[in-house]
Symmetry: C2
Subunit: 116 residues, 2 copies
DNA sequence: AATTTATACATAGCTTTGCGATGTATTGTT
DNA sequence: AACAATACATCGCAAAGCTATGTATAAATT
């Protein structure tokens, strides 16, 4: 079971939401938290995560801050002001979309005003 | 507001589910029903729908049947036996995934056994 | 009657986005 | 010493929906 395609379009929102919740996080920490919180079902890969973080930063929604743990560097990310606003919009849109899909695939569609 | 990316990975499932519900449908009818049932928020484009239908047919999950309405042709699609099975799996997977995402972006994540 | 809109199919090429593979380096475990 | 985990990064691939375009019939509007 590989929901790799389902994740498309949701990764940015997930990252923003986690930063909203936690204040600041670094990349590796995000992958571990998502893995943990999803019961090992959503495994964000480095090849997905880092480009996504860089894009969010380039868009001005998050900022990074390098912190050295011994000789190893960590890049902590946090939301900018525009990022906080974008997070709300993004989360709301995703929830609305998922609600719509849920209705679509679970309810019996009313044929009275359908096409055809 | 463009959930074009969010739709990725869900279109096939939506089509299968609608066919399960309605028995048989033709392409244009699917676009109209989805548009209708989603309150005009999900607008499936021809460039998305027809390739998706062709792929489902190539995979043996649906079969088509041409019907002439006057001089105009309609291609009605319906589920095959494997398609019916796939529909259940596909719908269940999508629902589970959305539930997971919902938890991720709404609940407060417990930091007690998080990463870091 | 002519024009526009809706119905109904289809495909080529673009863009986005997550992934696999690969690379570098430090730290912890066996 | 060897291996796994931590922690960053990028390149090229593949999947999938979209735009634009094309063809054709039917209905609605002017």
């Amino acid at each position: 079971m590989n929901h790799t395609e389902l994740l498309k379009g949701t990764l940015g929102t997930i990252i923003l939401r986690l930063l909203e919740e936690k204040g600041r996080m670094y990349g590796y920490e995000i992958t571990q938290l998502v893995k943990e919180a999803s019961g090992e079902t959503i495994l964000i890969k480095e090849g997905s995560l880092y480009p996504a973080l860089h894009k969010l930063e380039a868009d001005g929604l998050i900022v990074s801050e390098e912190v050295f743990i011994g000789k190893r560097v960590r890049k902590y990310y946090s939301l900018t002001k525009p990022g906080k606003k974008a997070t709300r919009a993004s989360v709301d849109e995703l929830l609305a979309f998922m609600q719509t899909i849920h209705n679509l695939i679970t309810s019996e569609l009313n044929p009275s005003h359908g096409a055809a």
